[in-house]
Symmetry: C2
Subunit: 347 residues, 2 copies
Amino acid sequence: MTPARPATLREVAEAAGVSPSTVSLVVNKKKDARISAETRRRVRDAIRDLGYRPNALAKTLVSGSSRFIGLVADAIATTPFAGQIIHGAQDEAWKHGYALLIANTEGNSDLEKDAITMMLEHKVRGILYSTWFHRVTEIPEALREADFVLVNCFAAEDGVRAVVPDEAQGGREATELLIRAGHRRIAFINATIPAPAKDGRLAGYRAALDDGGLAFDPALVLEAYPDQEGGYDAVPALLALGATAVYCYNDRMAAGLYDGLRERGVSVPGDLSVVGFDNQEVIAAHVRPPLSTVALPHDELGAAGIRLLLGLDSPEESIVKVECPPVERASVAATDAAFTTPPDAAR
Amino acid sequence: MTPARPATLREVAEAAGVSPSTVSLVVNKKKDARISAETRRRVRDAIRDLGYRPNALAKTLVSGSSRFIGLVADAIATTPFAGQIIHGAQDEAWKHGYALLIANTEGNSDLEKDAITMMLEHKVRGILYSTWFHRVTEIPEALREADFVLVNCFAAEDGVRAVVPDEAQGGREATELLIRAGHRRIAFINATIPAPAKDGRLAGYRAALDDGGLAFDPALVLEAYPDQEGGYDAVPALLALGATAVYCYNDRMAAGLYDGLRERGVSVPGDLSVVGFDNQEVIAAHVRPPLSTVALPHDELGAAGIRLLLGLDSPEESIVKVECPPVERASVAATDAAFTTPPDAAR
């Protein structure tokens, strides 16, 4: 498919019988230019007939910055989370007349530097720098040349704008789903990997217990690798605790836990209520029973990043925390049974 | 973070004691311009000292097309597949000095038109138009103004360049994993939804049976909705067939099938061997047992799209089919048992 060559400004001018600079004035909507209504009409007709497209790049050169916002992501291909950040950022950017220039670095720092340089050369309005899991990050030197906002990560130094999920609030909501259903002995399987999510989700669990008048018992907190295999392997230790409910660090862990429980004849939620974290696409709504969980608001992280960058939001704190809303499905059952003994399957 | 204002061409010229046009000639590496080595050195020093970045947009205006390639995707946020196409396309584009301008349309045709228009205004070298599932597509009118390649979709009309997965070859390889393990009575759970994947994967199944000297039995082909729920619900009908192996239309279906089989005490692969399709992230490697499957090569679809667009590949056919490689894990066991009776669990 060879495209038709686009019409030039000069061709429009010839068709309308005016000078190229007159066409330029009409295109750029210079209201104060002395051009008659009749001339404007002829130019517009010629533009339509020839399919002329004004050149966005020329406008950028004049204004000194483009209608682009850069977005650097470190793992577009390997997690669904980057896609959701992009989605949220793009929707918000478009609302304000900006397009996203997206670069995927897969964690390669050379590629990252090249991507940021390319964005600077294209005079982006600013850059969102995002990571697929919530963590502290170094700020690449090239990034400091731009107006930037960190998304799903934050800097160790003060005053750097960032948007992150509110892990503690999410962990609190997850635990409250279980407390409200009457559970009193609630286990938490945390991740083995140090991360803001690990600390925040535990803090939320403790805060919810506290509010519910339940004592925190460190013996009820297990740790496992945050994927299906980790959840599966944690089943024997979990069942030994005699809890009636468990809150898992993430949905993948809960999915593996489901498999291990099913093999031992432990029914969810009949024998054990389960809550996850992430509301991960393709998993949470599709395991059996569908998993009650807390959503990581990746879309909103992206959108909030754009609003911060464009100065539409001006929060007092440089790090903005976005709420993780609970998503109730079918893995939590009401119970009156406090402190049940472990099912036989536990041993 | 307010960025330092970038240095201008004029400031570089002043620092080097030359005219702006001399700086421009040095930056744009005009070899034939008569500029002394000493002057070139002074300009380069000033560029380095001031951190001046040549303006990529100005170069684009001169050359008439940019170093951008547009990529339109219809579902970045809701599937991991778009991310893999982006990854493959970006890696290949960067190799050849192009950056991707990505737009996510989530299937909204107004947004799609705006995205393509924006790309045209930015003088992209061409556009990859991609869909998250393999299907026939209309060609948006705006897209015809660009040099374009369809990725993971194709047009009904002749001669439109496209890159799609080779569904039939993939279905053949999936079935062959089972035939090679000695299975003779192999069920196939196809999708209920009409699609090239449905036809192609069935054709591959038939071709593999044919090659293996096994008769095609339409009774062994079931249909289910292509997600976990569909696979789960298909279990009773599947077990009634007395097959020793089953090839599922996709991995999500296989994951749901696993749940239903586990509830009935049917062991995978001991009682039944299972093969999926997609090699879907977060699922295939992490179900129990890990699923043998066939990979949908989304990375390679993106990369091949770029090569077609840039004329680096010049295949004879306008539609290029990319191989779906088998990925062997632990869900297939060797069997000598041909034509076993269904396990008790089936009834």
